[in-house]
Subunit: 335 residues, 2 copies
DNA sequence: CCTGTTTGACGAAACGTTTCGCGTCGCTAT
DNA sequence: ATAGCGACGCGAAACGTTTCGTCAAACAGG
């Protein structure tokens, strides 16, 4: 592997000059610049990122931490992120927190030790003093994705959950649904809280009283939903529509309905916040919100790069990306 | 950030001694060892991985390159891999080749520059002299996953595709199917080639003549399958069963059937090599092979670590992980 | 013509480790 | 006794960069 010294020798200049030409950090005469570039090409020199990192104290790597990469949403995020960053010459360290705050913090520290230039985190948002602990652990430019924290310490990009809830409720309302079940996730997770709040608000707006016995919380694992939906559907006066908050819930709900011999949309309408897209060919095709992951990734990358380059607006920003409603066949009109 | 010098000062020993105690590379008396460890704890010292990498010429990071992380299979692989490696103190750089050999090679070079300790690659397996080029580009311990190359230059872990094909064909045969359509992928991709070969071989074994007009190749995009399945089903004498080789094909097939107003298993049986698991609650639930991704990851990690630690068997090894057949409801018996 | 400033180039220090080679001490075998 | 050897500890070099401070030359203004 050719080193900068080889280049210097070859171009008959000092190491300093080679570094200066490459990085443009100091003025170099055109004549020497040419000699240096030629020499670089001739010896096939590539700067050693490790040495560079050591000296500069910061790398050209960004770290991505998600709860679970095997969730399609997270996988798409990782893909878009990686594309966005590789285009500007950054590469990506990756880790799963497995929704465990301890793992999450430990990964953050590992990444920090590796001197990542920035961090993209889908925070677990759990545990005592989570937010404070995060602020105290992170000393790198960071952008939070999907879940936002009550305190705005970090730039964040998330879905516009209030808008999404509004779309869902209005759509169901238009179809004549009044008895709507809502399965909320863990309280304290912003995406769940916001979706529930949006549900309540839009129900109010449409003038329909919420039947509180149809609002269940917390339901965040597949099996919770599996059980909950069966409770809901065996009530004296079951809901005519069920709102699912994420994929796990949706899968549990469908399985639970199946177990009761029920199906959507004939026996009950099902709609979901998180998209699920084998779509055509399977029934039922689930009517759901489609999150704009590409935009989310791009915005997050932009925010992060601005911080890294310090061109930034000092105030942490929250960007909300609007979803779109994909109407398929899991909801039907009722009298 | 505390440095090794701080520890040395605190413990009143030389830097060399501190390094020796930490790494066990040279004998240190118990008394000093104790002093050093105490000092480490007191100043909260953590070795700087960057500096270590620079000096040792190799990092504690491994690189993962997959064609597309948003494919569930790849996402699961990434998850298992990351878990396996983080347990032994390695972290993971990640990149998508987007099935483009140029990107793939470029990522390999970037990772090499970062001095990864090893590489896990799902090779694109495309382009001229692919195998030779790979050998020439890679100078790090490497294990190939999913797709194997004709020349055994690298350790590889892959599904036992011949066995899988055998399971599928025997199952269909038992249900009475004789007119079986097979959509192969790109020729030259080992997984596709092996599956096709296994199909042919087992058909021979069962004594059923293959209707060559039902074997289509190449069909590797969703839209190919969408078109192909409609051709197949509008033939004078359509197949009674269709074998799909991967998810993209399966999705296209289901959509294509839907477009013709047909459905599985009533009009035709559908079976797939790659598992697809929303499963319960949706119809049809696809009968498919389940790949043992956990085992695949573990084996790959083991192979790679053996190479890295040089405990290894000099000969590159190919490990084949057997799949299992998950019988659901997309296939039915025929007369 | 002198002073002050800018431009261009360089040597050497620094980043935080690991490792090479050397020196000292105490022990054992001659 | 003393040569030889192992165990232990240390200083300094090395890894490949970037950057600081210095310096010579060229150039501007008075």
């Amino acid at each position: 592997m050719a080193t900068i010294k080889d280049v210097a020798r070859r171009a008959n200049v000092s190491v300093t000059t080679v570094s200066a030409t490459i990085n443009g950090t100091a003025p170099v005469s055109d004549a020497l610049k040419a000699r240096v570039w030629a020499a670089i090409r001739e010896v096939g020199y590539q700067p050693d990122p490790i040495a560079r990192n050591l000296r500069k104290g910061v790398s050209t790597t960004i770290g991505l931490i998600v709860p679970d990469i095997s969730i399609p949403w997270a996988a798409h995020l990782a893909k878009s992120m990686q594309r966005a960053f590789s285009e500007i010459g950054y590469n990506m360290l990756f880790a799963s927190s497995e929704d465990d705050p301890e793992r999450e913090f430990s990964e953050i520290e590992v990444f920090s030790a590796h001197r990542v230039a920035g961090l993209v985190v889908v925070p677990t948002s759990r545990g005592e003093n989570y937010s404070a602990r995060l602020v105290e652990t992170i000393h790198v430019p960071t952008v939070l994705v999907d879940r936002v924290l009550p305190q705005r310490h970090f730039d964040s990009v998330t879905d516009d959950n209030l808008l999404g809830a509004q779309m869902i409720v209005r759509y169901l309302h238009k179809l004549g649904h009044r008895d709507i079940a809502f399965m909320a996730g863990r309280a304290g997770i912003s995406s769940s809280d916001e979706r529930l709040a949006g549900f309540r608000r839009t129900m109010d707006e449409t003038g329909v009283a919420i039947r509180e016995e149809l609002v269940r919380q917390p339901v965040y694992l597949r099996d919770h939903a599996y059980a909950t939906v069966q409770q809901l559907m065996t009530m004296r006066d079951p809901p005519t529509a069920i709102v699912c908050i994420n994929i796990a819930q949706l899968l549990g709900t469908m399985a639970g309905l199946g177990n009761l011999g029920l199906s959507a949309p004939d026996d009950v309408s099902v709609i979901s916040f998180d998209g699920f897209h084998p779509a055509e060919g399977w029934s039922p095709a689930i009517t759901s919100l489609k999150q704009d992951i590409a935009t989310t990734s791009t915005r997050a990358a932009e925010l992060l790069m601005a911080r890294i380059r310090e061109e930034n607006q000092p105030e942490p920003q929250i960007i909300r990306v609007p979803p779109s409603l994909q109407i398929r066949s899991s909801c039907r009109a009722v009298a």
